[in-house]
């Protein structure tokens, strides 16, 4: 990794708390433009908290969050969204009582170039033809796989530079998991950097350039995806238990 480039996203010694609970402990990480980076870790290790810290939904007690080299630690969530960060949250969390179209529209809430929205929607339909068929349906009536598509579409509607994905494989049948990761690759090829949080380590490492491993709030491993796949410690702790 060339270290002269400015990372798209950087954590410098980030410590995040929920009340007295110390969740992220001195986390430092970097995501460069054009990368797919994955964050692996077991339940409650702090993966979602890492994403929330990136978006400013929780503010670190110490340390810095940088986007494009700017210290954004004190920025609001909407400022960060405007700067090109968007998220597919854990469990998709669509606005279930709103239509699919409205879900996509809210994804573009901060966009100023309203004239391009229809074209962007068309691109999402190309990726997910099913979404187009369901456009005027309430999002809550969609199947799990379809909801995943809308959640990804919603996140893309803000035209992010960095897409955060919180456990995209969760609750999906194996075939849909594979499709989901195919889509991540496509999005990446179209020029968006991706930071994907996963428990399904094999799957995530198969598409990622690099990976970090989080254990009770501490980064314990950081390496290229290939090295992590070969790492005996990894194989034992994370790869063996997954099919």
């Amino acid at each position: 990794m060339s270290d002269e480039r400015t990372p798209l996203l950087e954590f410098r010694n980030v410590n995040t708390y929920y009340g007295p609970v110390h969740v992220l402990k001195d986390v430092s990480l970097k995501i460069y433009p054009g990368e797919i980076v994955c964050l692996l870790g077991g339940n409650a290790s702090g993966k979602s908290t890492t994403l929330k810290t990136i978006l400013g939904m929780v503010i670190p007690a110490s340390g810095q969050v940088l986007i494009d080299g700017h210290d954004v630690t004190k920025w609001t969530t909407s400022q960060r969204v405007e700067h090109g960060i968007s998220m597919v949250p854990e469990n998709r969390r669509l606005f279930k009582r709103m239509t699919v179209r409205e879900n996509l529209e809210i994804g573009a809430y901060l966009r100023k170039d309203k004239e391009n929205l229809e074209a962007d929607m068309e691109q999402i339909f190309e990726m997910f033809p099913r979404v187009k068929e369901r456009l005027n349906q309430k999002a809550g009536t969609l199947s799990g796989g379809e909801q995943q598509m809308v959640a990804v579409g919603r996140a893309l509607m803000s035209r992010p530079k960095l897409l955060l994905m919180d456990e995209p494989s969760m609750g999906l049948a194996p075939i849909l998991v594979a499709q989901s990761f195919e889509i991540i690759k496509q999005i990446h090829e179209a020029g968006t950097s991706v930071f994907v949080v996963e428990q399904n380590a094999n799957m995530a490492l198969s598409i990622a350039d690099r990976g970090y491993v989080l254990q009770t709030g501490q980064l314990v491993l950081a390496d290229t995806a290939a090295n992590l796949l070969a790492n005996p410690q990894m194989r034992q702790a994370y790869l063996g238990e997954v099919q």
Partner: protein
């Protein structure tokens, strides 16, 4: 028959006033999960301003109305910022109790300005009536119906089609995810309270139109509670239907009960909305149109 239709018409005009208060209640509940029992005070304050500017300062009624709209919206925002914002995350029950306290404080403030006498609101309708065939209706009641239709219709269109309305619905459903789309939850809260305070102000104006306003207006506006219980706490359409049901039942009762069931005494019509509410709470606690998962306090 004439008497019956006349009672229906009166019921609809009552419903107009109840709907204005109830829709405000629903807007705040939907977007902030707060049960706002301070609506009666917002209504009194709103009416006070109209009275003040129209009769004490002697501006035209319409100018006074405009000033009162602005002042009400500002009051709504200030109340939300100072009293409600610190309560975010507290149990819904505690916040509801807090709004009852808020109602008391604001009512004292409003009554201080209003005094103890009935004050004219300075409206142009006065005691004039319109007649169609055998039916007669006070002009201010017609105005109330028209205003309620226009305002509630505008609110519904706003929620359905505007960008901010979309954001408000999103925040109502899932605040955290709305935040991650770039929605400013602070503006959503502020706007909800502003809208709601303005709707309450209009209700106050129409309670006071013709007859004048005094502290009993707050009692009248409390009937928004049975209205939202009947219609469902989280449905604007439900609030409208609830308002019609409560308004018409009340009006029919006041027309027929004194002669048919005199034993129930005078003023029974004022109790009827609450009876309807209790019956509904027993059979369908989430209201006719509300969502089942909405909990009751």
């Amino acid at each position: 028959m004439t008497q019956f239709v006349q009672a229906l018409l009166n019921g609809v005009s009552l419903a107009a006033v109840y709907a204005l208060v109830a829709v405000g209640f629903v807007i705040i509940f939907k977007s902030t999960q707060v049960l706002n029992f301070a609506q009666p005070a917002l209504l009194l304050l709103g009416a006070l301003w109209v009275t003040h500017f129209a009769t004490a300062v002697k501006l035209s009624f319409w100018v006074s109305l405009l000033i009162a709209v602005v002042l009400s919206a500002v009051t709504g925002v200030i109340v939300e910022r100072t009293a409600l914002r610190p309560m975010v995350g507290k149990p819904i029950f505690s916040v509801a109790i807090m709004t009852i306290g808020l109602n008391t404080v604001l009512t004292v403030f409003a009554l201080g300005g209003l005094g103890i006498d009935i004050r004219p609101i300075g409206d142009p309708w006065g005691i004039k009536t319109v007649s169609i065939g055998p039916f007669t209706m006070a002009q201010h009641r017609v105005a109330a119906i028209v205003t309620a239709i226009v305002l509630v219709g505008a609110v519904m269109l706003f929620f359905k089609y505007s960008r901010m309305g979309l954001a408000m619905r999103a925040a109502a459903f899932d605040q955290e995810v709305a935040l991650t789309q770039g929605v400013s939850v602070a503006s959503v809260f502020a706007l909800s309270w502003a809208l709601s305070a303005v709707l309450a102000m209009f209700a106050g104006v129409f309670i006071g139109a013709g007859v004048g306003i005094d502290r009993t207006a707050a009692v009248t506006s409390l009937k928004a509670l049975p209205v939202v219980i009947v219609g469902g706490l989280d449905s604007i359409g439900g609030a409208l239907v609830g308002a019609l049901i409560i308004g018409i039942v009340e009006s029919l009762t006041s027309t027929y009960q004194p002669s048919l069931l005199p034993a129930l005494g005078t003023g029974f019509a004022h109790v009827v909305p609450y009876l309807v509410m209790f019956v509904l709470l027993l059979v369908r606690p989430w209201g006719l149109f509300g969502t089942e998962e909405v909990e009751r306090v």
